[in-house]
């Protein structure tokens, strides 16, 4: 039965996460924006909290559907996106720097064997898909993995890897058979310190500067055979590739929630200034009869609500074990774009306060922009949605 009231447990979780974000992240947000690439040591307190990518429980300890205590199961995906929103309200760059909460962890959590979980579950895992010649078209990667006895030998270059410096391991996409196209793409776990695996350099960015984005070069890099995630077999169909892409169904709502958190931070600050200036925000007056700042504010708040509801729906579907591929893309498409627009607009409404580094609004505008780019750009999300609702293949709708 439809019920979109926020459950009590989620409301109290949101408020305690918000306290944490306000107490720990906000105060150091500017510091690490300025000190690009420096590890925020304050975040050590979160190690082990596993905000993204909780390691999959071994089959034997899998939770009972009712949580084992007769109470309804509280959805992990929904709690995760709600937590992420609060943390990004604190600071998105810092959220992305939380130890052991990399996107690679999400991929490992989704597909690792029990034995792999044992070896890698407790480590900080980055995700390396993108290459200089392969961005949105992730199926065109050219990094190769060659089998040599009990080892894989990797060669190629990976760019824009989040947590490149701080992570312990990297999930690397590589092809075992270039002639097989997408079916040949597999993911491999490469540990830092492996000979032939080198962190080339770190990027200087528009925003999320607290997050260390870097380039890896793989040069005859040898890893154990068992470091492959999933099966080594190259099938004729693209089921395997679809499998690796499925991780995105979980991570896209997370990125959308990051956008929601940043946009809310901007709106909250704008609201504070509106209140101080004597404006009334009472959700009553016709939009024709309020000032232009108030009108913009109301509309942005409505969009923010829409973003959150699309995110929560996608997460709720994952929690209830429904296929949420389109809904995940819908959340990402909406929140990525709208978050960008909201943070821009708030700076405009704030005037000089929105341009000065005395305040965080300008930073939120820089931070938010990435949410419409990584984990698939807004355009790619629109493609996914359009192909799905129009029931057209990638061939018919390019």
């Amino acid at each position: 039965m439809i019920n979109l009231e926020t459950p009590d447990y989620l409301a109290s979780m949101r408020s305690s996460m918000n306290n944490l974000a306000a107490g720990v992240l906000r105060p150091i947000a500017r510091k690490y924006d300025a000190a690009e690439h420096e590890y925020p040591a304050e975040l050590d307190m979160f190690r082990g909290m596993q905000i993204l990518g909780r390691p999959k429980k071994k089959k034997a300890d899998a939770p009972k559907p009712d949580g084992g205590n007769g109470k309804p199961k509280k959805g992990i995906n929904l709690s995760t996106v709600a937590t992420i929103e609060e943390m990004c309200w604190g600071d998105a760059g810092l959220l992305l720097s939380i130890p052991n909460a990399g996107l690679g962890n999400a991929a490992i959590a989704a597909v690792a064997t029990d034995e792999q979980l044992e070896r890698f579950g407790g480590k900080w895992a980055a995700m390396a898909i993108t290459e200089p010649g392969s961005g949105s078209d992730s199926g065109s990667i050219t990094t190769t993995a060659r089998r040599d006895g009990g080892e894989w030998v990797l060669n190629g270059e990976k760019i824009f890897v989040t947590c490149a410096d701080r992570c312990d391991i990297v999930v690397v996409w590589a092809t075992v058979d270039r002639s097989a196209g997408k079916s040949g793409i597999k993911s491999f776990i490469v540990e830092k310190g492996t000979p032939g695996f080198k962190l080339e350099h770190l990027e200087h960015k528009l925003g999320i500067r607290a997050s260390d984005t870097g380039t890896f070069v793989l040069d005859e890099c040898r890893i154990p055979f068992d470091n492959i995630l999933g099966s080594a077999e190259v099938k004729k169909d693209t089921e395997g590739f679809k499998g690796v892409m499925k991780t995105f169904d979980n991570t896209r709502p997370m990125v959308a929630s990051m956008a929601t958190g940043i946009a809310r931070a901007s709106l909250d600050f704008t609201r504070e200034k509106l209140d101080e200036s004597g404006a009334t925000i009472d959700y009553k007056r016709n939009l024709n009869n309020v000032g232009s700042l108030e009108k913009d504010f109301y509309l942005m708040e409505a969009h923010l609500e829409a973003m959150r509801l699309l995110v929560w729906r996608a997460a709720w579907m994952a929690d209830t074990e429904q296929f949420n591929n389109v809904e995940a893309s819908m959340a990402k498409a909406k929140a990525g774009r709208q978050g960008t627009l909201i943070t821009q607009k708030c700076c405009e409404l704030l005037g000089p306060l929105g341009f000065s580094k005395e305040h965080l609004a300008e930073k939120w505008m820089r931070d938010s922009k990435i949410m419409d780019i990584f984990e698939g750009t807004g355009q790619i999300q629109h493609l996914i949605i359009a192909r799905n609702v129009l029931e057209m293949s990638g061939k018919d709708l390019k």
């Binding site: 019920n3 493609l383 057209m392």
Partner: protein, 365 residues
């Protein structure tokens, strides 16, 4: 617990309403818009479902099954996906009776609810909130009520009053001593004049009328809620949620029509949907319609929980107002010149869509 899926009962009602629209409205909607007439038969079929009787307490002749703003929103979306005017006409008695149920005195409930229960097909009441003026705002009414001994004297002008001509009673929103109240006026009251049917941009299937109140005197007992007055905020919250549901239905219809058209229409040797500029409009329509619905359901959930829904209902409504225009515009654009021709429904959705941000008090959730 939070849930984004319909229950069996909600799905059943949604499907029933959809089937009714499919059978009685879908093919007729264009004609309804051109001739300005809604088939009585279609309205009767909807009333036969007894959704309103179900909500009326047993002591007043209903089934006493409670009122569900969420269910009402689900139904309104389905009906409006067929035709906005039909959605308003079919559910109209609720617009008059729900405020009575919410805030009427015992005597008012006994009279109006029982009247309806005794003759559910008979003429009932309607609601008059809109006023024909620049900067109109339901919180800033120019229509006034003044207490005089045992009466109230009403003065002012209203517009867009649905089915005013055939209504037995009209509930008038008017300012009273700095607050806003609702006043039940008999259709035959000599101080009340119903003007000729209006000609509007959209909503053409539905007869709407202007109303003039000239020193219109009513017994003090006919103020909704008696001396205590009514919960005007809640009335607006419920009507805002309803108009958001209607906006969702219109946009959904526009989206579906445009989507199917884009797959069939070929230019430059392939379906126009193969081009991203068309496909991306379709994608945006898909998720914005969902967002509109979720915003509506969010407000309806707050109402259903009996909580103050001022924020949620306001946001759902202004969002629907924005999106109704944006998405129905996309709908016309996807069809190009063909979208401009009245045989295709997208131009009607576009005209009706303009009403979502403007019209007050046309339906209730």
């Amino acid at each position: 617990m939070i849930c984004f899926a319909c229950s069996e009962e909600q799905t059943l009602m949604k499907e029933t309403a959809a089937k009714l629209v499919q059978g009685a409205i879908a093919d007729a909607a264009h004609q309804m818009d051109e001739t300005g007439r809604i088939p009585d038969d279609a309205v009767r079929k909807f009333r036969e479902l007894g959704t309103l009787l179900a909500a009326i307490p047993e002591e007043y002749g209903g089934y006493g099954m409670g009122n569900s703003p969420i269910m009402n929103s689900i139904i309104l979306e389905e009906l409006a996906a067929g035709d906005m005017g039909f959605a308003i006409a079919a559910t109209l008695p609720a617009l008059f009776l729900m405020p009575v149920m919410d805030c009427g005195t015992d005597a008012q409930k006994a009279r109006h609810l029982a009247d309806f229960a005794a003759d559910p097909d008979g003429a009932c009441g309607t609601l008059a909130i809109n006023e024909p003026r620049f900067r109109f705002d339901p919180y800033d009414l120019a229509t006034t009520a003044v207490r005089k001994n045992g009466s109230y004297i009403l003065n002012g002008t209203k517009c867009f009053v649905p089915l005013a001509e055939t209504a037995r009673r009209i509930m008038i929103a008017a300012a009273l001593d700095g607050t806003n109240g609702l006043f039940i006026v008999d259709r035959n009251n000599p101080g009340l004049t119903v003007g000729a049917r209006e000609k509007n941009l959209g909503l053409n299937s539905l007869a709407t009328h202007p109303i003039t109140l000239t020193d219109c005197e009513i017994p003090a007992d006919d103020r909704l809620g008696g001396d205590a007055g009514c919960d005007y905020d809640r009335l607006l919250q419920r009507t805002w949620t309803a108009i958001a549901a209607i906006g969702t239905g219109i946009c959904r219809a526009s989206y579906e029509y445009a989507k199917n058209y884009a797959k069939e229409r070929e230019q430059f040797g392939e379906a126009i949907a193969s081009r991203q500029s068309i496909a991306f409009m379709i994608a945006e329509m898909a998720y914005e319609v969902d967002a509109m619905r979720l915003m509506t359901w969010k407000a309806a959930s707050a109402l259903e929980a009996g909580r103050d829904a001022q924020r949620e209902a306001y946001l759902a409504r202004i969002y629907a107002g924005e999106m109704a225009m944006k998405l129905t515009d996309y709908g016309v654009q996807v069809l190009g010149g063909h979208g401009y021709i009245r045989e295709h429904p997208v131009e009607r959705y576009y005209r009706n869509g303009r009403g979502i941000a403007i019209l007050e008090g046309m339906a209730i959730a």
